[in-house]
Amino acid sequence: MATVTREQVQERVIEALASFGPEISSITPEATFEQLDIDSLDLVELAQIVEDEYGVVLKGEDMKELKTVDDAVELIASRAA
């Protein structure tokens, strides 16, 4: 797990978010979840994917603070490292 890069995490997060509905081209690091119409239910699904993939457990508390795609990537990458 120690070998996972930030780029890999970003790629996986974007892929996961795209499967929830938004156009993949709109999912930039700066995009906010509000802009992407990603809500709390989507974030729970994202947390499940991340845990399966990287063994990183994200709780509701962790997710509440996330505003942008990059916020999520940063949190997951730092925990996975």
Binding site: F20, G21, P22, D37, L41, V44, E45, Q48, D52
Partner: protein
Amino acid sequence: MPDKRRIVITGIGAVTPLGVGARPLHEEWAAGVCGIEDGAGRCSAFDPSEFLSVKEARRLDRVSQFAVVAADEALAQAGWGGPATNGGAAERPYDPFRVGCVIATGIGGIATVEANHDLMREKGAARVSPLGVPMYMPNAPAAAVSMRHGLQGQMYGVVSACSGGAHAIGSAVRMIQYGDADAVVAGGAEATLTEFGFACFNALQALSPTGSSRPFDLRRDGFVMGEGAGVLVLEEAEAARARGATILGEVAGYGSTSDAHHLTAPEPTGRPASRAIGMALADAGVSAADLAYVNAHGTSTQLNDAAETAALKLALGERAGDIPVSSTKSAIGHLLGAAGAVEAVATLQALNERLIPPTLGYEVPDPELDLDYVPGQARPLQPVNGGPPVAVSNSFAFGGHNVALVIRGAG
């Protein structure tokens, strides 16, 4: 009692095994086309991506997808504009808090239950989807229609198995009559053609082992399960006229009783069901002499078709044998919680097209069942007593529910 508010129908929508839309339901059925294949009435032509975004589609079980698409069609016909999310809310003719939404389902999102149960067994309880409950809850179809169209009055699902769609319409009628709403989007939806759905209904020995739906025929051996949805836009008559709506017809009467007899078998004398029919006729202020058609529950089970025939004879008396009776289930199978709503749509279409579609597959009469079941082909509907034609639509259900609707066509 003061005069009741009258309830008119201004839009209809359907998704059925005969196609997406209300029109194929009548046209295909009247042409003798049967939508049943390999022992099931599947909505094979339905592609959710034609109507729903990725996000919408993945958050709605198939049962809610059917409801939403049928509601879109009904509301478009009523002239209410498109989904609220596309700006259609600006065209709504009523205060959104005065518009209700009642959508039945017999089972709910069973495919979602199955998929999540599999996930739990394979990967553990923590891997169950957060979308599980909001997708399978039986009020999900009603909630989906309400959200999509910005309907903010009373909104709920109805749970009464195979009479749910008819109960939804009856509840909507009473809601408007009491003055709690000016309009209600009402209907039913079902999507149970899953491995578990078939297993459970098969275990009950309710399904036809030959995969044929031939109501009232001597050889009938069970029902064929179907899927889909029917939705009607109901409005208080004066309000609908004031806004210049096209009036398609009227839900003139509603009656409902219970058998208090058995979990699955109908009460064999037909007395409780006949009371529901009698109540609906009285509610509409009409008698058997006024009826041009009966759209039967007609499931193709031994017990239902016999009990329903008995109920019709009790309720309609000497005229029972003169009134054409046909079953939509002969063309699409049994849509369970959607059946009553889809069949209300089909009844209205028969009245307005002045054409009674036949009971398909009815070839060998049962000597015990002696009504006119409209064998062979569609038949012109003969209005009786002048004025717009009137019909009864029956819905009965496991649990002992009986519902009759009296529907009046356009003049």
